[in-house]
Subunit: 255 residues, 2 copies
């Protein structure tokens, strides 16, 4: 690797040589240099930048810099590009939807009773994230059933993109306990009232999502359920989301 | 804002005050400090760290640091957590699937004819990313039809998560031109041969995805098609992915 290296100070070199194993594929060795500097070594950051390194990504404990050796465009894999959110539709046997009002909502949605929403945590599943968010905001225990739709939008936080999965959940408890930090109020709201809200009727996005939810309730819609599968190639447990249709009559097989 | 600030050197203070507008919500002002340092100001990084700032995220041109003022856990939104990939199933009128062999595949999948795959670009749509990747790898023009399933897996690149959307595309051209950089070979392969490959039959993940694809071909499965919708609340164009079912007979309405 050394013969292609830029002139690098000995301080940095010590750190870089330890990082050779971070290179993703054998074919890419000797082409790109990964330099991971922990928070405690932040004094090396300006030194690396002076040597021609670029920022790649950072996490609370470290910053990763890269240097692409060959002429031509950098072929190193990009940083994470998306945040992932979930919304949870929970309906009880009385046809009431679990809804909340947020403490810090935008002025445009003031007064709207909406479904619980939130971001999934690092390495968290969509189906567990949805159950967790509903529990945190309302105290209600639920079981994940399906992703019924998802939304993709760009240039959200830090110019990244956002994938938002709309989930259907079955309630396992019914007594609401409001999360005082984020939630102003929570309640079970009759489905008819929920749908009638002007802020939902007037917005094509909200309206469409509610239409899908109602179609799913009437079994006229197939959501995607989750299935844990281990691939023998990477040995990783994956969640594969797909819908299960009854081949006999073509209708959805919901839980 | 100033009364709650930690003792910060005047160098940093100049940069911070310009960044007040980056704070996401009025309610969070005075609680968290965002410090965006461009590459050219990397000499301020060790200074900020010494003052108690943490790395938040970085892009090639800058690093973002944060400082959380109150006691208690930091409530600032997290960095992007996911990369997003796509795979494209393209089948022609002769029941042949568009397949490739990659130059830099893992030893475990050596010899496998697979569908074209890749990562979507920053701010790119899933449906355009799928069309682009197929075009880049094989030269074939396609039209996006549906997402038929998606896979969620964790601890992939840089300990981030990966969402992989399996798309179905309709071919608009038929002459293959192989991308020499990434692809070893590409061809139209009879569906029966594609499915019979031992590496597909022996892996529960590959097998399941192929089963879904075949069910979709036989119209015994509903994928999610994409619909562009503007929400009046944020004015953003979103892509909403959901399936369209014929309410008359319960079967999918594919294109």
């Amino acid at each position: 690797m050394l013969e292609n290296l830029p002139p690098i100070s000995s301080h940095l070199l010590g750190t870089i040589l330890e990082l050779d194993t971070l290179l993703p594929k054998p074919a890419e060795r000797k082409k790109g240099i990964w330099l991971k500097l922990p928070l405690e070594q932040s004094d090396l950051v300006p030194l690396a930048v002076k040597e021609g390194f670029q920022y790649h990504h950072a996490q609370p404990g470290y910053v990763m810099l890269t240097y692409w050796i060959p002429e031509g465009p950098c072929m190193l894999p990009a940083n994470a590009s998306h945040q992932v959110g979930i919304g949870g539709f929970v309906i009880n046997q009385n046809n009431e939807v679990l809804v909340v009002q947020e403490k810090h909502c935008s002025p445009a949605t003031l007064g709207l009773w909406k479904i619980p929403t939130g971001f999934i945590h690092e390495a968290e599943e969509i189906y567990t994230g949805a159950v967790r968010e509903v529990k945190e905001e309302t105290g209600i225990d639920t079981e994940f059933m399906e992703v019924i739709a998802f939304r993709h939008v760009h240039n959200v936080a830090f110019e990244k993109s956002d994938l938002f999965f709309i989930c259907m959940l079955r309630p396992l408890s019914f007594k609401i306990t409001v999360d005082d930090l984020e939630i102003e109020a929570a309640k079970w709201m009759p489905l008819v009232e929920f749908v009638k809200q002007p802020l939902i009727q007037e917005d094509s996005m909200f309206k469409k999502i509610v239409d899908i939810f109602i179609a799913r309730l009437g079994k006229r819609y197939c959501g995607l359920s989750t299935h844990q599968i281990v691939s023998k190639f990477d040995g990783k447990i994956s969640s594969l989301y797909y819908n299960v249709i009854d081949n006999e009559d073509g209708t959805c097989v919901g839980k």
